[in-house]
Symmetry: C2
Subunit: 232 residues, 2 copies
DNA sequence: GGCCGAAATTAGGCATGCCTAAATCATACA
DNA sequence: TGTATGATTTAGGCATGCCTAATTTCGGCC
């Protein structure tokens, strides 16, 4: 039974979860401010308030950054589960395009009840990923791990499969779909300069140039390790 | 394009709409306070702020009550449309019981986009009523009128059909369902005292006693005037 | 060890929307 | 025509969560 949160608190916890990465490293006020589009001073204020609470969602050390407590992590994962379930629901049941779901889910994730969360999951057959390939945390907070890597870091000539794509830029998402860059698609990075763009063979198509910007939003895994959860 | 509102403002507008009735009469601060579960002083403050805005959602006269402006009415109907569409969606698509939908819709109604509203309506085939029989306003603000009357005021021996029931008390709703008191059900009020309870024949059942409390949440129309929209 | 720039924090404010307590208004009734 | 009573409004506060401006801390570099 996690303590009561506001929309703002949820957003902070989710941001800390996303910025701290798999290793749960400390997150700086500045990084949070940039991610939340808020002034650093506001972040300090919020973190202090959160850290004072008993029980607390975060462990906060002045000048050294913040990380989630167990409680905070549980809440952040719950909100993330809401977000991703809602995205899949909007996409699969209500015919939203994959570039439309993020904005809607971003609002609704704070306001659905446990009951609605459960009914949505059941209706969908307990899906494992959202439309962009992100893994949906289990209700108990478990997250199936996957060692995905940014496409921009992937070595040449090694067959890869897209595991997930960033959902924060609708234009990029439309462009990706147009090029066939969706979770589950196989690709190979061709040798050549990697400065402004990558030469990539997408699926069975002829090799294409991919802007660094677009590539930065794409994560991949090795060809044979994809467990088959990601849907096209 | 109605101006931007907060959840609190939406709740005030909806409350004014519901309390002012079909004739759009003035609503008193006290009535609003009771309906919104807020102190009268808070209502005064909010109404003053709303009335000051340009353009304004309300027409407010000190000491004499408030009514909606055209703008306010449009927004109130939009929120009501959201609420009722969501109720039907939760009920029909996500297997919510009819006593569970109100609470969830009460929150979500403020946070769904136009797009989601439209997709929900389309998915449902543009329904005319919510699970409790209330008419869903059209997107343009039109409301199919219906001269329904509280069951407690209905004359004896005249065949009636339940048009709608109040959705604010889950216990009452469960009790109604158990007794077969759902929209579309026919009934006849038997002669007798109407002090604490009514003697009513529900559908084809033997006459039953109905507490005044339960009856107060039920609205009816004359048997042959129901246009067939309400579902059992 | 001291200095500098970036990062972070403190200080003081603002808007929303609620509260309680203390006036004030409207009105019915004697 | 007063006056009591209930409805309503005013006055002053509190919590949330954001802001800007000013100050402090951190950490690398000379």
């Amino acid at each position: 039974m996690t303590a009561k949160t506001t929309e703002a608190v949820d957003d902070y916890l989710k941001a800390i979860l996303e910025l701290s990465g798999p290793a749960a490293e400390r997150v700086t006020s500045n990084a949070l401010a940039a991610h939340l589009d808020v002034r650093p001073a506001s972040v300090t204020g919020m973190l202090q308030k959160l850290a004072e609470q008993q029980p607390s969602f975060v462990k906060y050390e002045k000048h050294y950054g913040v990380r989630l407590s167990e409680l905070g992590k549980r809440r952040a994962l719950e909100v993330q589960r809401h977000h991703r379930l809602i995205e899949r629901f909007l996409h699969d049941v209500l015919d939203f395009a994959w570039d439309e779901v993020h904005e809607e889910a971003e609002r609704l994730e704070h306001y659905i009840s446990e009951r609605l969360e459960d009914r949505i999951a059941a209706k969908l057959g307990f899906p494992e990923t959202d439309p962009h390939g992100h893994i949906i945390p289990e209700k108990d907070g478990e997250v199936a791990e996957r060692k995905e890597i940014a496409l921009s870091q992937w070595p040449c000539a090694v067959p890869a499969v897209i595991s997930s794509v960033s959902d924060r830029d609708p234009n990029a998402l439309r462009e990706m779909k147009r090029m066939g860059l969706v979770p589950g698609t196989g690709l190979i990075v061709k040798p050549g300069t990697r400065y402004a763009s990558l030469l990539v063979r997408i699926g069975a198509q002829a090799p294409t140039r991919l802007s660094r910007e677009l590539a930065s939003g794409i994560k991949v895994v090795e060809r044979r390790t994809l467990t088959g959860n990601a849907r096209g």
